[in-house]
Symmetry: C2
Subunit: 143 residues, 2 copies
DNA sequence: ATATATGCAAAGGCTTTGCACCTAG
DNA sequence: CTAGGTGCAAAGCCTTTGCATATAT
């Protein structure tokens, strides 16, 4: 795997940054995992290659985010979850009771997006949205 | 201030829990502050009374939340923010660039709520929603 | 060659836990 | 009286920072 994202190397060079194995590994891991915490990215990399430090994973995720290649979402109390920015942002549904994470298309936000933009000039970033509530299983189990 | 919320004492007793000064102080602080982190709640209490421990604030916020009296939202990387559960849930708009927090009425979520309930059986808890994006000031400044 | 990245270890926030003491009931 | 709550100190996660070493260019 190396051609899975639009030329990381080019983006790095275009910004005067260096192309390193670590950066490619981190981006590959995010791509493969879909959504993952820094720690999960780190573990995934360690499955392939030894000796990549978690500090570097954190730094690289920040870097890739500032380059617009990845984004992150806060699903719950714990660590934020990183994902490819190109994924037109899945919206996460987090169940308060059981912690399950489901995803829906960002299209459900069409109207909200429009209203916020018109009323407040706020540009909603759907990739960052996590919605909390009670999932259908818990709902049925509990009532 | 002591009659500002529907009888904390009664709710506590109904659940076989004890009515303590700390619990009333925490609930009062959340009421007064609107939205606040555990640390802010602690500070606010310390302005009135000395010697209430931050550990107790954390434990009490958890307790009040499990009793359904308060709720919390994750606005950004930092600490979660607590608010009265009775507040029909202000929706928070968090700017990624400048960190500003704005609020909108939960009504903007009417349609989303309905779709999620119909399509997924997911009961959206608007009080917990934080939306990320770029605020109008940053938008104008940056483009 | 040299500015940039990395690794390591240490510190930093925020939060939880363990245990002894205290207090509401 | 005694179950439950509090305070204190210590540890726990997740993350960032400082500095020496290594490496892409």
């Amino acid at each position: 795997m190396s051609s899975d994202t639009p030329a990381l190397a080019e983006v790095l060079r275009a910004n005067g940054l260096r192309v390193t194995a670590q950066r490619q590994l981190v981006l590959d891991a995010v791509t493969t995992l879909g959504h993952a915490t820094a720690e999960q990215v780190h573990e995934s990399i360690c499955d392939r290659v030894a000796g990549v430090n978690i500090t570097t994973v954190y730094r690289t995720l920040d870097l890739l985010e500032s380059l617009g290649l990845v984004g992150h979402t806060h699903l719950s109390h714990g660590a934020p979850v990183y994902h490819l920015a190109g994924d037109r942002g899945q919206v996460h549904l987090v169940c308060h009771r059981c912690g399950a994470v489901d995803e829906v298309s960002p299209e459900v936000f069409g109207d909200v997006r429009r209203s916020l933009e018109e009323q407040r000039g706020f540009l909603l970033d759907v990739g960052h949205v996590a919605l909390f509530g009670i999932c259908s299983s818990c709902e049925m189990a509990n009532q």
